[in-house]
């Protein structure tokens, strides 16, 4: 009975449903790639019947006919249409509309639609960043943007990168771009504590930007030309990189967890002789009968672990995001590595019906760098790497009693250096900012922005008394502790005014004031003489146990508190848009700085630019989905010189204690000011076939005048140099940048895109007067190479031109022959010739990304061509005489016609090589498991597993470890470029990881 009743009920219902077939209810969930989407619009096409999704992304829409089409849309995502048919449940995943997402670019104190940008600006979003282990933001950009050249100093974890936007426009002062993190301009200067030279030379600067967690970054905006960077005035000349961090989004909270494990090994090696080959080619006295490989001994397969966690969310009134991460990166040289903890929190809240918007964020980082005895400028003594490279492979590291063999202060035992040397730097950095934005009227906003950037860095260096180097042995152990504290305070007020003056004319105006103050202080204590204690870590932890504190020489005690650097600015910008076709932008910034000389307290930096959106014109064929012409001119500055440089300054030299001697610290220059760069830029942005092919071409010319330089003082002045602006010289950089993106396939289940960029640049010095033999740089290090200089800036030549003796081979006695340029029979300094520049003629970047169903694949590579590298490592270590003297060399040295001993390894083109390269930087393959499928519960949005290969190959004629290298070989404060000295080798790495999204 019951059964029949049920059956009849079902029959009734079936009839009922069939009968109402033209007016069913449809429900479902709308989500995007990261989960359900609240507030998405769902409409029945061609009607006004519609609804929007609730907070869980769910919707129900009534009275939908079976022939109806539902239209799902959400800002920033591609609108999708679904025919309902007989379905009562329709779930859709809206995909990102790449074009829409690209719309907005941050331009400093505001943002504009990409389509309306008048300057050369580029926005790189997080999904396009480089993959693999990246410890700092600029690595994410390497090869991604035309005209942005990122060069890692070496392969060392946490090493500083050199970033050049449109070439080098400075000789002395920093050529690094200005970094602005969520509105706070930060100092890109070194924040890690240096230390005294305790016997192993000085070290590479740590990367000051590695306090930012790359996975917190939403996008990076690169402002390249002056019409964009003039808003940053006296700091805009080298371009600006604006880092925008991730914010919470409206909707249900999200949790992400990322974890990866990376294995790294040395990628390229010198082909050094093994013990048997060595013994065959060196005098018998050098054969000690063992068989060791010192270089292998200092290397390891390094493991890097990364954990990264975040949760975020928000509602109508505000958002929040918290993240925390831990990176533990081992270097491929033992005892080197970087460990870092990051935590960041940001919150937004709107009050008073959305009239007041408050935003606060804080980012904290704790970075511990562990270093081995490695140096940029070590001489004949050699650091860990050099000691290992030249170690006699027939010589055991150990004495019969198990202690380390001591050879000499010029052949240090690499294992001894590993064991008996400790060097670590702990850097804490906190960046906090708060802003309040008040909507005074519909058109007018007021915003105050307050920022604090504080860092403290401690470095401890210890050399055991057992260590076989003279400074440690003669002093019975040494320890040094250094501390450096930097701070940066910012307050900014801005007014934004947006209105339509008529139906076709819109104006957007900005006026602002900012004040920023930078401070820098620190101290160093060096102690020696630790009695019978041999553990160098004990020395560092108990430095007051030292029995001696040098008051003069390298190891003396120091304390400093640099003059403060205050910057006060007034700025304004107006953007006029006419008929949505013509856009005019004008900028003016006035920068006053406590650093500038009394006669030049304020600098004024104007810019003008215009854009014509040609695609809005009716005569343009439909095939162009985007077409814009841009042109701009602007003046920007560079003020990277130390505070106090404009004044005569005196200090007390602490040698001799409290009654110390008077010391001249600086010879002043009341006319000292920023260096000025005028830049013109013309560009075109285009998109064809609904932006399947899109691209940008820019042409620019930058002319820098008033170049900052330390010039000689008029002696006697108590100090050899002073800061000045070169009145006649110009540095002219010009070039062309092309970037193209092509979506080869763009379907729902499969997509494949390809992108590439190429940038040609030339930077030349013109009209350089008063320097008949150029401005020198490029100190070459090593035994017998004191005082050698390889590079310089010369009138009419490229910046960073090598100036060298011309090596022509060996004579019958095996001695080097050099071209006698002045034909006077004597080879000396006058026979040097310009031999090419470290600047590349052009840089390329290539990348592709492929997606098929749940699989994704990304690859990117970059390269540089037409540049030279000076191989200081080979110059110092690899020649026949070194082999005869009992040092190991690469096998290529054996067969040369060079004399077995006595031939000089003078600095010459013998050691200059092509630095061309192309690197397959990273390749990543990933698979996505979607929640609710494959047996995964629905509360999981997605789980992605991936494998990444980093630095899989590099194509280069360069014979050193790696052609992407920039050892710090500055001379008298003038930075060098393209010199390789015992730089940390680069690794090839494989990463296995997982991303969990809840």
């Amino acid at each position: 009975m019951k059964n029949s009743l049920l059956k009849s009920l079902l029959t009734f219902l079936t009839v009922l449903i069939t009968g109402f077939a033209y007016s069913q209810n449809v429900s479902g969930t709308v989500s995007d790639s990261s989960g359900p989407l609240a507030g998405a619009s769902v409409m029945v096409k061609g009607t006004t019947n519609g609804t929007s999704t609730d907070i869980d992304g769910n919707f129900t829409i009534k009275n939908v006919g079976t022939d109806a089409v539902l239209v799902f849309s959400y800002i920033g995502l591609t609108t999708q249409e679904v025919a309902v048919g007989s379905k009562s449940v329709v779930n859709v995943v809206l995909i990102d509309d790449k074009k829409e997402l690209k719309e907005v670019v941050v331009i400093g104190y505001g943002s504009v639609k990409r389509k309306d940008a008048t300057g050369a600006v580029e926005s790189i979003k997080s999904e396009n960043f480089n993959r693999g282990i990246n410890t700092s933001p600029e690595q994410l950009l390497q090869g991604k943007s035309a005209g942005v050249q990122v060069t890692a100093g070496s392969g060392e974890p946490g090493v500083a990168n050199t970033v050049r936007i449109r070439g080098n426009s400075s000789i002395r002062s920093g050529s690094e771009p200005l970094y602005v993190i969520d509105g706070i301009p930060v100092s890109s200067g070194n924040v890690s504590a240096g230390t005294n030279d305790v016997g192993i030379g000085s070290q590479t600067a740590r990367n000051p930007l590695n306090f930012i967690n790359p996975s917190d970054i939403e996008s990076m905006e690169i402002l390249k030309d002056a019409s964009a960077t003039a808003i940053y005035g006296s700091r805009g000349a080298n371009g600006v990189i604006i880092i925008v961090t991730k914010r919470g989004k409206k909707g249900e909270g999200r949790v992400t967890f990322n974890s990866s494990l990376t294995y790294s090994k040395i990628a390229r090696d010198y082909n050094l002789l093994n013990a048997a080959e060595f013994a065959k080619n060196t005098p018998a006295a050098n054969n000690f009968g063992s068989n060791v490989n010192a270089f292998d001994e200092i290397l390891r397969t390094a493991i890097t672990k990364l954990y990264d966690f975040s949760f975020s969310g928000g509602d109508e009134k505000g958002t929040y995001r918290f993240s925390m991460s831990h990176l533990d990166q081992e270097g491929i040289i033992k005892n080197t590595g970087l460990e870092k903890y990051n935590a960041s929190l940001n919150m937004t809240r709107s009050l008073f019906d959305g009239k007041l918007k408050l935003e606060g964020s804080i980012t904290g980082a704790f970075v511990k760098d562990e270093a081995a005895a490695l140096s940029d400028n070590i001489g004949a003594e050699g650091d860990l790497l050099i000691s290992a490279l030249k170690w006699n492979p027939t010589r055991s590291f150990y004495n019969p009693d198990g202690s380390y063999v001591f050879v000499s202060n010029n052949q240090r035992n690499p294992l001894d250096l590993l064991d008996n040397y400790t060097d670590f730097t702990e850097t804490n950095r906190i960046l906090g900012n708060f802003s309040a934005n008040y909507k005074i009227t519909k058109e007018l906003d007021y915003k105050v922005n307050i920022g604090v950037d504080f860092s403290n860095s401690n470095r401890g260096t210890g050399l055991s008394k057992l260590l076989g180097i003279d400074s440690a042995r003669n002093r019975n152990g040494i320890a040094a502790k250094s501390n450096i504290t930097r701070s940066n305070y910012l307050i900014e007020h801005t007014l934004n005014y947006n209105t339509s003056l008529s139906s076709v004319l819109k104006i957007s105006a900005l006026a602002g004031y900012s004040f920023q103050k930078f401070e820098n202080k620190g101290n160093t204590v060096v102690g020696s003489g630790f009695g019978s204690i041999t553990d160098q870590n004990f020395y560092i932890n108990n430095i007051t146990a030292a029995t001696s504190y040098d008051v003069s020489g390298n190891l003396r005690q120091r304390a400093f508190n640099d003059p403060s650097n205050k910057l006060q600015s007034y700025f304004g910008r107006a953007i006029l848009t006419y008929d949505n076709k013509y856009i005019f932008s004008g900028i003016i910034r006035a920068d006053g700085s406590s650093k500038f000389g009394a006669n030049n307290k304020y600098g004024y930096f104007p810019a003008l630019s215009v854009a014509w959106k040609v695609d809005q014109e009716s005569f343009v064929p439909k095939v162009f989905s985007d077409l814009k012409l841009r042109g701009g001119w602007g003046l920007t500055g560079n003020q990277e010189f130390p505070a106090g440089a404009a004044s005569d300054l005196v200090g007390i030299n602490n040698t001799d204690g409290p009654n110390g001697a008077l010391e001249i610290l600086n010879v002043g220059n009341p006319d000292l000011k920023w260096e000025q760069t005028a830049q013109i830029n013309v560009g075109i942005d285009f998109g064809i076939l609904n932006n399947r092919l899109s691209g940008t071409v820019d042409l620019y010319k930058k002319t820098t005048t008033d170049a900052l330089l330390q010039v000689a003082t008029a002696d006697p002045a108590g100090f050899p140099t002073k800061w000045a602006n070169l009145s006649d010289a110009k540095i002219v950089s010009q070039g062309i940048e092309i970037s193209l993106n092509y979506k080869i396939i763009d379907k729902e289940n499969i997509s494949w895109s390809f992108g590439g960029n190429i940038a040609f640049n030339s930077s030349k010095v013109e009209n350089l007067k008063g320097f008949p033999t150029g401005i020198q740089t490029g100190t070459i290090s090593g035994q017998g190479l004191s005082g050698a200089i390889a590079q310089g800036h010369f009138d009419g030549q490229d910046t960073y031109t090598f100036n060298l003796l011309q090596f022509q081979g060996f004579d019958n006695n095996g001695n080097s022959v050099y071209e006698d340029v002045d034909k006077n029979g004597v080879i000396n300094e006058a026979d040097r010739k310009f031999s090419g520049s470290a600047n590349p003629d052009f840089n390329v970047g290539l990348n592709t990304s492929f997606r098929y169903k749940n699989w994704d694949f990304n690859a990117s590579g970059y390269g540089a061509y037409g540049r030279k590298i000076y191989d200081n490592t080979s110059n110092a270590l690899f020649f026949k005489g070194a082999l005869t003297a009992g040092n190991n060399v690469p096998s290529s040295i054996v067969g040369t016609a060079e004399a077995a001993s006595g031939n000089s390894n003078a600095v010459s083109t013998r050691f200059l090589q092509s630095g061309d390269f192309f690197r397959l930087a990273n390749v990543e393959l990933g698979y996505n498991f979607i929640g609710g499928s494959n047996g995964f519960p629905t509360w999981i949005r997605s789980i992605r597993v991936f494998v990444t290969g980093t630095n899989l190959f590099v194509i280069t004629p360069y014979k050193g470890f790696d052609p992407e290298v920039n050892s710090n070989k500055q001379f008298r404060g003038i930075p060098s470029s393209g010199i390789d000295y015992a730089s940390y080798p680069r690794a090839r790495a494989f990463t296995f990881g997982i991303n969990v999204n809840l």
Binding site: A285, S408, Y446, N474, H493, L495, Y497, Y513, F515, K521, V551, N561, D562, P563, K566, Q568, Y570, S594, K601, A643, G644, S647, D648, L649, V650, N659, G660, A661, L662, I664, V667, G668, A714, D715, P716, A717, G718, P720, G770, F771, T773, G784, G787, A788, N813, N815, I827, E829, A830, A876, G881, A882, A885, G886, G902, N903, S904, N905, A906, V907
Partner: protein, 513 residues
């Protein structure tokens, strides 16, 4: 609405304008420093700068490498050093030579401090006189090496050009006049306080300046120096003699020659007239004097660099007895096997065991220092070495040895030279033989003027005087070991470094560069 915006803007900008005054923190302005620092600190800077003479990279090397007693051969992969040592020895330096540049800078730095101290409030007459002495010492060396001196008046701002510009012919008289005026104010001193500029030091420097005056006076109007021979006026030579006599008061020759250069020379030598003080805590890089020449496998293991020329070796006419040529030294020979003076032939350690070349060990060749070497391509054993300032084994890298500017035998030979130039060869010979017999060498039966130059080589070799001495005797341009040519007279003065030339239009590049 507009009023609202404007008033808001005014409010905003009016409230937030901050000052851009410099906060100097650890630095002082010159005005403030005169309040805080005293003349003692100011004078100390001028004294401390004397340490630059001990740096083997600075002015000391300009007096030695171009002379007939030292060279820096390139040894395969060592000591190329951008060719600076070769160019110094072969007289082919350019204005870019880093040794020339650093010598100019170091001397001018000293000159600045010496002048600057003189105007400090509260300075005593003795301190002021010491400042003047140091000013004259630096001026003398700049005149000698570079031929032009820029000077500021004490207290003058350093931002502008120096107010005083002196040619070589003027600079020497300027310095002599200054020092003569202040001589009475210099403190009295003994050999034990030779690091303070005393009356003895002032007299000795005046004697030296008068002795060399003719050389500087003979410079052409365009700055071109003369090879000589020079006309040494009797008036000048009489001044040399009287100042020498005054300088020698209270000093006596040290019986043991090498004690003058021992780690504790400041405490034991009675010859010292003016020195730069070093301790194991504070001082110049005195250790470079032994590191720069000793072989790696000697003790201390040196840098295997500079060598003595056969020209110097041949000057020793009584090698068997002359203690200056070679001496066993307690505290040196018994510690390391090294001897004072020349190191030639097989080298031994303190146990009498033969020292080997690198890498050491039984099959390595014996370390045998040779007389011959080649400037461009020498191997590690080439060239004779010299130990004069002895290693301070208690602190090898911060040695206690005081660096000597002026000592008794130097002044005695200055006096002897003045006598000889006046024609009083007998008086000169007496002085020379006093020195020789004290040093163990046989007395000379007779002499000529040039004997003084040779005796100065035997007595004062590798002490930073040789170029100046050779120029006075017109032998500087003549060929020596590993320089076969007679060089042009323009090399008698070094070039002004280019950067400094650009910084001061009142300087003119010396002729020939």
């Amino acid at each position: 609405m507009k009023i609202k915006i404007i008033s808001l803007t005014i409010l905003l900008f009016g409230l937030s304008s901050c000052d851009l005054d410099e906060e100097l923190n650890d630095s002082l302005t010159i005005q403030a420093s005169n309040q805080i620092l005293g003349p003692t600190q100011a004078l100390k800077s001028a004294y401390n700068q004397l340490w630059s003479f001990q740096q083997t990279d600075f002015q000391f090397m300009l007096q030695e490498h171009p002379s007939d007693e030292m060279a820096g051969p390139t040894r395969g992969g060592d000591w190329d050093d951008n060719g600076v040592w070769r160019s110094l020895h072969t007289h082919t330096w350019s204005p870019d030579n880093v040794r020339v540049i650093s010598a100019w800078e170091q001397l001018n730095k000293g000159l600045y401090f010496a002048i600057n101290a003189q105007s400090f409030p509260g300075i005593t007459p003795s301190q002021k006189a010491q400042g003047v002495f140091l000013q004259c010492l630096y001026t003398f060396y700049i005149t000698d090496l570079f031929g032009q001196v820029s000077m500021r008046i004490s207290g003058e701002s350093v931002s502008g050009l120096p107010s005083i510009q002196l040619k070589r012919t003027e600079a020497i008289d300027y310095a002599i006049n200054l020092l003569e005026a202040q001589l009475p104010n210099l403190p009295d001193g003994t050999a034990m306080t030779a690091d303070v500029a005393s009356k003895n030091a002032g007299n000795a420097l005046l004697a030296k300046m008068y002795l060399n005056r003719a050389v500087y006076k003979a410079t052409d109007a365009n700055g071109m120096p003369q090879i000589g021979p020079f006309t040494f006026s009797t008036t000048d030579m009489d001044k040399v003699i009287s100042y020498s006599d005054a300088a020698m008061v209270g000093r006596s020759l040290q019986t043991n020659y090498f004690e003058n250069f021992a780690p504790n020379n400041g405490e034991i030598s009675n010859e010292l007239i003016f020195t730069s003080k070093n301790t194991n805590q504070v001082g110049g890089d005195m250790h470079r004097f032994y590191f720069m020449t000793l072989h790696y496998n000697q003790r201390p293991g040196g840098w295997n660099g500079f060598v003595a020329l056969t020209d110097l070796y041949d000057k020793f006419d009584d090698k068997a007895n002359d203690k200056r040529f070679s001496s066993n030294i307690t505290g040196l020979t018994n510690v390391s096997g090294l001897t004072g003076g020349f190191l030639i032939g097989q080298q031994f350690n303190q146990l009498g065991v033969k020292i080997k070349e690198r890498p050491g060990g039984p099959t390595a060749p014996d370390l045998v220092f040779t007389q011959n070497f080649t400037l461009a391509n020498s191997t590690e054993e080439k060239g004779m070495r010299i130990v004069k300032y002895q290693p301070d084994y208690s602190s090898l890298e911060r040695a206690n040895n005081d660096f000597i500017f002026l000592r008794l035998s130097d002044v005695m030979l200055i006096k002897a030279e003045a006598q000889a130039r006046k024609g009083n060869l007998a008086d000169a010979l007496t002085i020379i033989n006093t020195i020789r017999t004290t040093r163990g060498a046989a007395a000379l039966p007779s002499m000529v003027l040039k004997t003084v130059l040779d005796e100065r080589a035997r007595e004062l070799y590798w002490e930073g005087h040789r170029r100046q001495d050779q120029i006075r005797f017109s032998t500087f341009n003549q060929p020596v070991q590993e320089r076969s040519t007679t060089t042009d007279r323009h090399v008698l003065i070094f070039p002004i470094p280019l950067a400094n030339l650009a910084a001061n239009p009142n300087l003119k590049q010396n002729p020939g560069y």
